[in-house]
């Protein structure tokens, strides 16, 4: 393949055969001699004081029961991130093990270490914890305890509303969701006193963040921890922060002097893993008579759970800052309050605030179209941001984009100008609707690094600071390096995921790996090529010869790449059908147009779009983490937390627009979340369309839709 063919080549992942043959090595496959196993005693209450903990003196295979009293002096609460200008209540950081109080059902109270996991579970039954139950707060607006707060905006919002010909408002709510990766969380922790090194194999999105979190919690210098991320079976944002259980296992392994494994089971993951979304908001939009958007007011409440984990503040901040969407709205006033509730903490889940913003603003724009009588496509066209860079009223700087091209392509693929709902589909008792939604999302940003070295055989080894959990970093980065160096792709070998050998960086999240870590690879490769050219004096380098001649002095290069955020965007169209007899929603067709900048590997981008879209369809159709009035989780198994099957997935037509980002040498943006961002508002708007303007909140379950249909007078032809 020539250079021009490598960038944009739809190459399959090189690990596919290994993954499909089951030759992967997940953290549960890691076996360390003498390893013990952990199970956890968890709070049965949403909110309670702990009055006593009584530990069994002996049980079969029991090694130790570790409580906060045992490790309290050795650990600190979780470090908590502080997004720009956000007030964060660090005093409410999640403790490793509960001390004195529990704030969600499922919170780890004691780690039970035994010879096998089964024996650990048996012994956990013998730990007697006495609680003093307290009332649970479940609704963020009723909480009264603020964990995070962000306010932002620009322009004269009051004047904008005073001058408005139309003011439309809407209230929106997204339930909590469960990431449900196929591989749950887990770790093996082993402490070696000889070199004073704690080695932690961890199912995580990257090595750097878990290492930094453990370093803080254990009050241990980063150099004293080796963090290894083996193969990972999915994360979707939920493995960017270590589980409190992982910190407890690491502390226990050090305290007991034996290696300890914890493999989270599905029940633990469903009740104790960070959940996504859980946000609601009241929005108001001021429009001129011609439909121009003059101002936006938004007040959001995020249901953050009982404590702050490291990444908990991020999604509400992202939602608030993206709330003006793709629209040129000069005046905005936005506040988001992250409230304490007695549920497991929330955190990033694919989209992480982006779908939340797109859902609210796109529903509001459809409402504005209904109210003003301006066609929903036309209303959008009149307000799109058209010149870049664009600074939003919320303070983001959009680097580039072509929103109208995305919209035009989506409408072309839908072969329709956005036709209104259709009451009679010709097959009896159904209503149909169509929804259009645009989105823009924050991607990239921060920094990553790469090291490249010419090996003795004339091939190349690259160590990336980023690490994959399904995205396909390996082939994508190999494409980038082979392209820059002008060498065959099979000559490039990538290494990830071990803090002993990986260069410094941040991690894999927020649709950033190609733009950031990929750019670092490109710059390192460019440096290597420049060195080789200088040494050989030739424009075309004979790498094998250079490797032979150079001996141990073979060229190597390292690069660190940093940039501001880049902004991906897209346009989605959904067609839905609702069975009036049962209320059943069928998404008949989904058009997904994404602009992720220059695409390195369109096959993997396509996979990301489809995967994100299917997760969002789950959010639309069935998924919801449910708590009863006392704060007990009612979605503790896949019987209750309903994931989609292939049978529910409609035909998805994808299209792409490639507006290069000016902020990195590849022109890349991000593709990991677009499908999850665009699908939700498109389907939601289609459902509202089918219901004749009546709104219900996701998930669009049959009973909700049936009730919405049957409260409706349905005067038009039925």
């Amino acid at each position: 393949m020539t250079r021009s063919e490598l960038i944009g080549a739809p190459l399959p992942r090189r690990e596919d055969a290994r993954v499909l043959r089951g030759e992967t090595r997940y953290v549960d496959d890691v076996v360390v001699p003498g390893m013990a196993h952990a199970a956890f005693v968890r709070s049965p209450h949403a909110h309670a004081g702990i009055t006593s903990i009584s530990v069994p003196q002996d049980a079969e295979g029991l090694i130790a029961v570790v409580t906060a009293a045992d490790i309290g002096a050795a650990v600190r609460a979780f470090p908590v991130m502080e997004p720009d200008d956000m007030e964060v209540n660090h005093a409410e950081a999640h403790p490793v093990l509960a001390a004195g109080e529990v704030r969600y059902a499922g919170q780890p109270v004691a780690a039970v270490i035994a010879r096998t996991r089964a024996l650990a579970e048996d012994a956990a039954e013998l730990v007697d914890v006495q609680y003093d139950e307290r009332p649970a707060v479940l609704a963020p607006r009723e909480s009264g305890v603020v964990l995070t707060r962000w306010s932002g905006g620009a322009g004269d919002v009051d004047a904008a509303f005073a001058a408005a010909a139309h003011v439309v408002s809407g209230s929106y709510a997204l339930p909590r969701l469960i990431a449900a990766p196929m591989e749950t969380r887990g770790c093996v922790a082993a402490y070696e006193p000889v070199d004073d090194c704690l080695t932690v194999w961890c199912s995580a999105q990257d090595i750097h963040r878990p290492l930094a979190q453990l370093s803080h919690i254990l009050d241990r210098p980063p150099a004293g921890i080796r963090l290894i991320v083996p193969d990972v079976g999915g994360a979707f944002g939920s493995k960017g922060v270590i589980a409190p259980e992982i910190a407890a296992v690491a502390a226990s392994a050090m305290r007991l002097g034996i290696p300890v494994k914890w493999t989270e089971d599905r029940l633990e993951n469903l009740v104790g893993g960070t959940q996504g979304r859980g946000i609601e908001g009241d929005l108001q939009l001021a429009l001129a008579a011609d439909g121009r958007m003059l101002g936006l007011r938004a007040r959001l409440w995020a249901d953050l759970g009982g404590y702050l984990l490291t990444t908990t503040p991020i999604p509400p901040h992202t939602a608030a800052t993206l709330i003006t969407g793709v629209y040129d709205i000069a005046a905005a006033a936005v506040t988001v309050v992250g409230a304490l509730t007695h549920k497991v903490p929330t955190g990033p889940y694919r989209g992480a605030g982006r779908p939340d913003a797109a859902y609210m603003v796109e529903a509001l724009v459809d409402e504005a179209a209904r109210r003003t009588g301006i066609h929903r496509v036309e209303l959008r066209r009149r307000n799109l941001i058209r010149s870049f860079p664009h600074r939003t009223a919320t303070g983001l700087e959009y680097d580039s984009g072509d929103y109208e091209r995305c919209l035009d392509l989506a409408l072309e693929l839908a072969a329709d100008g956005g036709r209104a709902r259709d009451r009679d589909g010709g097959d009896g008792d159904v209503v149909r609707g169509r929804g259009i939604a645009l989105y823009v999302e924050r991607a990239g940003g921060g920094w990553e690094s790469a090291e490249i070295e010419l090996g003795p055989g004339g091939t190349f080894a690259i160590a990336s600071s980023s690490s994959p959990h399904g995205q396909g970093h390996d082939i994508t980065f190999a494409q980038i390096a082979a392209d820059r160096l002008g060498v065959p792709i099979q000559d490039i070998e990538l290494h990830f995921g071990d803090s002993a050998t990986s260069p410094p960086g941040v991690g894999t999240f927020g649709s950033r790996s190609v733009a950031m870590a990929g750019s670092a690879v490109a710059i390192a490769a460019d440096d290597l090529l420049a060195q080789a050219r200088a040494r050989t004096g030739a424009a075309i380098v004979d790498w094998q010869r250079l490797a032979e001649v150079a001996g141990p002095d073979r060229p190597r290069a390292a690069a660190r790449f940093q940039s501001a955020n880049v902004f991906s965007s897209g346009a989605y169209v959904a067609t839905v059908r609702i069975d009036c007899g049962t209320g059943e929603l069928t998404v008949e067709r989904l058009i997904a147009v994404d602009d992720a900048g220059t695409l390195i590997n369109p096959l993997l981008v396509h996979g990301q779009v489809i995967g994100g879209a299917v997760q969002a369809l789950g959010e639309c159709l069935t998924e919801e983490a449910v708590y009863d009035d006392g704060g007990q989780p009612r979605t503790g198994s896949f019987l209750d937390y309903s994931l989609l099957t292939a049978a529910e997935v409609p035909p998805i037509v994808t299209g792409e627009v490639q507006t290069p980002s000016p902020f990195n040498p590849l022109g890349a943006k991000g593709a990991g979340e677009g499908g999850a961002v665009g699908t939700l508002p498109a389907v939601a708007n289609a459902v509202t369309d089918a219901l004749g303007g009546r709104r219900v909140e996701p998930p669009f379950t049959s009973d909700k839709l049936w009730r919405a249909l049957h409260d409706d007078p349905r005067g038009d032809g039925r």
Partner: protein, 267 residues
């Protein structure tokens, strides 16, 4: 999600299994394990003893040679689904079993296990209720036969006594003119049903409607059945079938499903 400790005995004969079950009040019989094993792993079930019925080939028969269909309790759902004899004489069972979980679940799951577990959202108990099946129970000390109405007592509750085992289900033949349908509404493909209906209709001769989701047990819609025999159409019969259900959405759902099922058998 590891089960609490229990003793395990593989049954070597039916009489041996009954002996084991009689000997321990906290014994549970293991058939396909599609419900019991998750309950063990969630520690929702804490049996002292598990009696594994899987070695008992004598409980895995599927036989219509006597006119009625005799289904051994250990017959796999997948075996039922693939049976030509069942398809020819008892198509309702084929229509219903297709909705039970996914292929992997049906491969292990048994007909008797589904009945004895008595999940209110399970399909086979509803189809067997419509078919007027008889349920043959055995214990160390005797045998008895129950109708569906006698067997199903509530959610996850049957008339089975400790030590008693469901060994066979006997399904009478329907009139040759009978047509059948099974429809359900579930959140996703393969999920437990929210509501469902089984219908059998030989106009002027025989009518049966059994509802899933009307109560914690399968419910026969007697008034609707009588109305059908008196010549009622699908809409009227469907309304009668679901009339007693308090929740308006569930009533509408069962009315819709009943009407559509009756439309199919009357088309």
């Amino acid at each position: 999600m590891k089960p609490a400790p229990f003793r395990y005995e593989a049954a070597r004969s039916l009489s041996g299994a009954l002996e084991l079950l009689a000997g321990d009040q906290d014994a549970r019989a293991l058939a396909g394990g599609q419900s019991l094993v998750p309950m063990l792993n969630f520690r929702l079930a804490w049996p002292e003893l598990i009696v594994d019925l899987n070695p008992l080939a004598e409980l895995a028969h599927l036989d219509a040679s006597g006119g009625d269909l005799r289904i051994g309790a250990l017959t796999r759902q997948a075996t039922l689904q693939r049976s030509d004899v069942v398809a020819a004489g008892w198509p309702l069972l084929i229509q219903a079993v297709a909705h039970v979980g996914h292929a992997a679940i049906r491969t292990r799951g048994t007909v008797g296990g589904s009945v004895a577990h008595a999940d209110p959202a399970a399909e086979l108990p509803v189809a067997l209720t419509a078919l007027d099946a008889r349920f043959h129970l055995r214990s160390r000390d005797g045998a008895r036969s129950l109708s569906a109405g006698e067997l199903f007592q509530g959610a996850l509750t049957t008339a089975l006594e400790p030590g008693e085992l469901l060994v066979e289900i006997e399904v009478p033949a329907s009139p040759p003119a009978a047509r059948t349908a099974f429809l359900e509404h579930a959140r996703t493909h393969g999920d437990f049903a929210v509501a469902g209906v089984a219908v059998i209709l030989a106009p002027g001769e025989h009518a049966a409607i059994a509802l899933l989701g009307a109560d914690a047990v399968p419910v026969r819609a007697a008034a609707a059945e009588q109305a059908l025999l008196n010549g009622a159409g699908p809409g009227e019969a469907a309304r009668l079938a679901a009339a007693g259900i308090a929740d308006d959405y569930r009533r509408a759902l069962l009315t819709t499903l009943s009407e559509r099922a009756l439309d199919q058998v009357m088309a």
